[in-house]
């Protein structure tokens, strides 16, 4: 068989696939990026569709979407930006829902397991504690609320260093520049990230919930593929992946 005929045959065989195979562009908040990669890879394998994932800070993604970025679905880190998009008529009606609730975690690379985090914080025997900027990131707000609850917010404020997002906050701690930091549990749940010291999974009662919204954008209003992906995220398998990544999935 010549190369040409082989090519012709493979084109004929593969052609229907390429007609059916769709491409989705998904914008995803930085803290959920890793999980999204797993979800989208599985979805691609099961359906043959292609997913292009763009990660970034929620506010930036929101600004890009408002200004015409070609995304089909937006996995936000908050509810503020998705509600705004809804008010502006930029989303598929009724598509907004909470896909995950973030969990806050205090990573202490220099503290052995078994030591009370509250005691470490009270002692204050460290120079810097990292958190996400509460102005920019919900995880930062949750970190402040947690310290407030412990009655340590004002005592520890001079030790604050702030990352612009939760990934940068993690980086400050991972590089040893800050001795501890409030990060997303999606980082501390992964032994590859947290290979030193210990972490404290902050109880949900310490801060207001870190509800993360997803919306299907107007552009993909009639896209079956977009809906299929949303269905996959809500499926038992999707839920299991999200929970294994350190999030809670509300019912």
């Amino acid at each position: 068989m010549t190369f040409k005929s082989l090519l012709a045959i493979s084109l004929i065989v593969l052609a229907p696939l390429s007609v059916l195979a769709d491409e989705l562009k998904i914008a995803v908040a930085a803290n959920f990026l890793k999980t999204m990669e797993t979800l989208s890879k599985n979805f691609e394998q099961q359906t043959g569709h292609t997913i292009k994932v763009s990660g970034g800070p929620t506010g930036k993604l929101y600004a890009q979407i408002e200004n015409g970025a070609p995304f089909d679905i937006f996995f936000s880190a908050d509810q503020k930006s998705t509600k705004k998009l809804e008010d502006d008529g930029k989303i598929k009606t009724g598509s907004r829902f909470i896909y995950a609730q973030g969990r806050l975690s205090l990573w202490m690379p220099n503290v052995p397991a078994g030591v009370e985090a509250a005691d470490v914080l009270k002692k204050g025997d460290f120079k810097h504690i990292a958190l996400a900027n509460p102005k920019a990131a919900p995880y930062g707000v949750a970190a402040e609320q947690t310290l407030e609850k412990l009655g340590l917010l004002e005592t520890l404020r001079p030790k604050f260093v702030m990352g612009e997002n939760i990934g940068q906050t993690y980086q400050f701690v991972a590089t040893g520049n800050a001795q501890m930091g409030f990060v997303a549990h999606s980082y501390t749940v992964d032994p590859k990230h947290v290979n030193k010291g210990s972490f404290w999974l902050v109880p949900l009662s310490y801060h207001s919930p870190l509800d993360q919204d997803v919306v299907v954008l107007k552009k993909a209003e009639n896209s079956k593929t977009a809906q299929a992906f949303i269905d996959y995220v809500r499926s038992a398998e999707g839920k299991q992946i999200i929970e294994a990544s350190g999030y809670t999935v509300p019912n």
Binding site: P57, T58, G59, K60, Y62, A63, K80, S81, K84, K127, H128, A130, N133, K135, A136, A137, F160, V161, M162, G163, E164, Q168, Q171, F172, T175, G176, N177, A178
Partner: protein, 232 residues
């Protein structure tokens, strides 16, 4: 708090930015002059190597620089060890004003060294030799011969280094830690305002930056014409 066009603006990032830029420019002139002089006069075959090294920050993403600084200046690193040896209490430079200045010096290095180099290259070797035969020492050679002939280079170097530092983002983002009154610079403040959907504040600060940057460049080009040095 300032109110500009009815929008509340915290001026502290502006002062921090100006302080970092001013200090950086000063440091860059001090270390840039001997560097540029050496590079302008040397015949060594290593010259291209050092020229490329100086120009690196022009092409390197600032985040690369910031990332390496974050790693090298961390409290357990060699830099910190050395500073402790010198008597610094903990040796940590990240999240400090000094750390930002160090980052900015690297970041803006070519903007100071290159104009100086170009200016020094224009100083005729014959004049330098003549001064030397009249036993001028290095300092008077510099003040009386090189300096007057290179005014344009100095002005360009200082203004560009200053302006480039003002516009710095990536390095500050990586090693700053966004501490109010210490490491929160205007570019970060704008980023924050955009992130928090406070577009009015972002607009006001951005317009200030725009006007400032344009004025600086206007001054540079204006002075360039005024101080044009005719040689020969």
């Amino acid at each position: 708090m300032w109110y500009i066009f009815g929008v509340e603006i915290d001026p502290s990032p502006i002062w921090t930015t100006l302080a970092v830029a001013f200090t950086t420019t000063l440091v860059l002139l001090i270390i840039g002059i001997p560097m540029a002089w050496k590079l302008a006069r040397t015949q060594s075959r290593w010259k291209v190597f050092f020229e490329a090294l100086v120009a690196l920050p022009l092409v390197l993403p600032p985040t690369v620089l910031g990332f390496y600084l974050l790693i090298s200046m961390n409290p357990n690193g060699m830099v910190a060890d050395f500073l402790r040896f010198l008597g610094h209490p903990d040796g940590q430079l990240t999240f400090t004003f000094v750390g930002l200045v160090i980052g900015s010096v690297f970041y803006s290095l070519p903007f100071a060294v290159q104009p100086l180099m170009r200016a020094f290259e224009q100083v005729p070797q014959s004049l330098v030799d003549a001064a030397k035969t009249m036993r001028a020492n290095t300092l008077s050679l510099f003040w009386q011969v090189v300096m007057p002939l290179s005014r344009r280079g100095f002005l360009t170097a200082a203004t560009l280094a200053f302006a480039h530092t003002v516009g710095e983002f990536g390095v500050v983002l990586m090693v700053g830690g966004n501490i109010p009154h210490e490491t929160r610079m205007v570019s970060i403040a704008i980023f924050d305002h955009v992130e928090t959907l406070e577009y009015a504040q972002a607009h006001v600060l951005s317009v200030i930056m725009l006007i400032f940057s344009f004025s600086v460049l206007l001054v540079v080009y204006g002075l360039n014409r005024k101080f044009e040095v005719k040689i020969g």
